[in-house]
Symmetry: C2
Subunit: 132 residues, 2 copies
DNA sequence: CTAAACAGTGGAGTGCGGTCCAAGGTCAAG
DNA sequence: CTTGACCTTGGACCGCACTCCACTGTTTAG
């Protein structure tokens, strides 16, 4: 598959794919004419990359994981471990969000939700410390 | 309070504070000598900014919210509404994370977790489509 | 009086994750 | 043989959120 087809299949720009190659996330064979050639497996791989990105992994981290994977003797086990790692990261993130949520709901109900927040700006004449 | 004190109090650099002023998140009065002068309320305001950032709001968005706040006739109500908005955003995010988590755990247990993921690279000779 | 610690400005640089562009090569259809 | 779609490269540029720097002014302690 050439770059244009891959790009439309995964919903990325050709530029993005070339960029991914630069940063070590994606590799390609070359056709006789120099065009990049991708195996069908590139599609699920890029879907995986997108998932990882959605989880907050940087492209550098994803590339690292990819290398670990290619070096692992047991691919399936390595990937399972990677997934387990991600699940732990998700759990951490969800916990943080839950804490923030609790804080916000607690304050939203109060008379002055600003106990620890920006004191209401005086009705007239914006004071400093705030956007203005 | 001058910039240095505020910076150490909120754990930001002086440069960051000046940057926040540039982008409309923070304002300051000036002393006779030209030094920035901040009211004590700047501290909780910046804590709020950090919270909002943690929730994934861009500084531009935070600045926007800040303006809405300064323009609101009922400050407390406006902030409560803002908080409620954020709680909804958190909920959405948590739902997304839960979905990803479910997908990952489902796959991590399987024989070949790659049904929709990068097909295992051949043991020898890395194929293209993967990090390489 | 001087040195240090603080403040000001403008502008350049950073890292991330790309996008855009110009100049050119390749290939199939008409 | 030309047109158009596709591909190549390198390099410039973008937005975000800062950070660092040089150079200058102010204040305070010894």
């Amino acid at each position: 598959m050439r770059i244009g087809e891959l790009a439309t299949r995964v919903g990325l720009s050709r530029d993005a794919l070339r960029f991914y190659e630069q940063v070590g996330i994606l590799s390609s064979d070359r056709l006789a004419n120099g065009y990049r050639d991708y195996p069908p497996e590139a599609v699920p791989w890029l879907e995986y990359v997108r998932t990882a990105q959605a989880l907050g992994f940087s492209l550098a981290e994803i590339a690292e994981h990819g290398e670990e994977l290619t070096e692992a003797s047991d691919q399936a086990a390595a990937l399972s471990a990677l997934f387990a790692d991600k699940v732990r990261i998700i759990d951490t993130r969800m916990t943080e969000l839950a804490a923030l949520r609790a804080e916000l709901t607690a304050r939203a109900g109060t008379d002055c939700p600003l106990r620890k927040q920006p004191t209401p700006v005086a009705r007239a004449g914006r004071r400093s410390g705030f956007p203005g």
